[in-house]
């Protein structure tokens, strides 16, 4: 995915501008930024839902309207109506719409692919269950399965662990790590702590993009993007993503 000199927004007003970004195939990339910083605007441009005001976006060498067929998109599951009468199988089958086209029915191979995707996210036996009655973590898995069933080259997730508890969160990241062996993972979140311990590369977005090509968030990046001093606290060595810094022995920096 390659984004250059991008400006985008609504009604000719740019929410984000001068965004340059390159994500290589196979990367595990995290995009963080405060709410209102333009994360969802950037997502919409990448998915071809709104046209850029300036600059270009290429997804696997094609403009978003075409290139998005390589993207498996996982929206925030909390947006869905829990009373909508729909089964896990039916939701996952939606991911085959692109393969199936306007033809009114899904076929055998679609159902087979759906069962495989449900199995890949560890939801075997849940095919006929009502999506509205599942827990947050289970719903998230169903939406990941829906993204996987179209055999994408890149998985794009919007706040995948918003409102799930820490244990479920960990299991979802474990799943993403496994999926990363076969595909690019792009993760968008406002939760710095979450992203830092899992991704390989990271960028901060707040109207402009700040990136260095390491899995490290520097205080400068954060302060520039959040426009205010930010506390960075790293919990223990294994999860450390902060650059070595002066007060390293205390595990925190200001």
């Amino acid at each position: 995915m390659k984004i250059s000199k991008l400006a985008a927004g609504y009604d000719e007003k740019a929410v984000i501008s001068d965004v340059d970004l390159e994500v290589e195939h196979g990367e595990y990339f995290g995009l963080i930024g405060p709410n209102g910083g333009g994360k969802s605007t950037l997502l919409k441009v990448i998915l071809g839902l709104i046209p850029p005001l300036q600059g270009t976006v290429m997804v696997y060498g094609e403009p978003p309207e075409k290139g998005r067929r390589h993207i498996g998109y996982v929206p925030q599951y909390s947006h869905f109506d829990k009373d909508y009468p729909i089964s896990v199988m039916d939701v996952v089958l939606m991911g085959r719409r692109r393969n199936r086209g306007a033809w009114p029915w899904y076929g055998k191979e679609d159902k087979k692919a759906a069962r495989e995707a449900i199995s890949a996210v560890g939801m075997d036996g849940f095919e006929k269950r009502s999506v509205g009655k599942l827990s947050g973590g289970q719903k998230q898995r169903v939406f990941i399965a829906r993204a996987l069933v179209g055999k994408p080259r890149m998985l794009l997730l919007d706040e995948p662990t918003a409102s799930v508890d820490a244990r479920i969160e960990e299991s979802i990241y474990k799943l993403l790590k496994e999926l990363n062996r076969e595909m690019t993972i792009v993760l968008v979140t406002h939760d710095i702590g979450v992203i830092s311990s899992h991704v390989e590369t990271v960028a901060c977005l707040n109207r402009h993009l700040f990136k260095n090509n390491e899995p490290v968030i520097t205080p400068e990046m954060l302060e520039e993007s959040y426009q205010c001093p930010v506390d960075l606290i790293a919990h223990g060595i294994p999860h450390r993503v902060l650059a070595p810094h002066e007060h390293g022995d205390e595990g925190g920096i200001r």
Partner: protein, 289 residues
Amino acid sequence: MTFHLMDYLTAPFFQQMLVAGILASLACGIIGSLVVVKRSVFIAGGISHTTFGGIGFAYWLQTIGLDWFDPLFGAILFAVGAALIMSVRSLRDRFREDSTIGMLWVLGMAAGIIFLHFVDPSVRPLSAEAILFGDILLVSTTDIMIILGLVAIIYIFGLVFFKDLKMLTFDEEFARISGVNTSFLNTLLMVLIALTVVILIKVVGVVLIIAMLTIPAATANIYTRNLWSMMLLASIIGVVLTTAGILFSSMTDLPPGAVIVMTMGSIFLLSLLGKAIYSKVHSFRESNS
């Protein structure tokens, strides 16, 4: 006064009333379910009230000599027109959606009142009240033919686009990135809602249309786990309760539209109550096991 069921069942006016009610319920099973899951009840309300203007317009045309212009044609014209106006993307972006709907709603009603004012009483067999609250007693054979055609259109499009309509109503953004032409499909759904509304005018009248569209579907939603079975159950509930309502209104001499709506409302409330009791008992058992 005694009530003789067989006399009613064999009377042509009663049979036509039943046929219209059943056809309307079948349309409502499909379109009502989509309206409920997409939360478009207010849109359906707006479309249904504009048809009052269309009916007034048709009677006015009859007054000035266009005898063939059936009131249902006027209703179709205004309902589909309102549906198309509400589908215009730029209009929805420019003004608040609910304000646009509200305006069409009242403008349609006002136009109807003005048109009816100029109508020659001899061409207008119906009072404004009959248009607003239903005149199922006066369903003609022509009406049945028009309604049958509309139901056929609704079923054909509903079935052909079922898979995409499910996607659209569940997750419009995902539908769009998956290649569904969402603006076309949204417009199509609006037009199908408009046609369903036209069918319902004859059965329950302009004001009570929303009840036929939403109550059977909302009741079916309580018991079903996928959209397909929701549509099926909503159709069955609609057919049974409409028939029951028509029979009851004939027995009691109460207006059929209002009786049908009250019957549906009672069943919905009973279903909610039943569900609440069931889940209470269920959780009580689980906590004791």
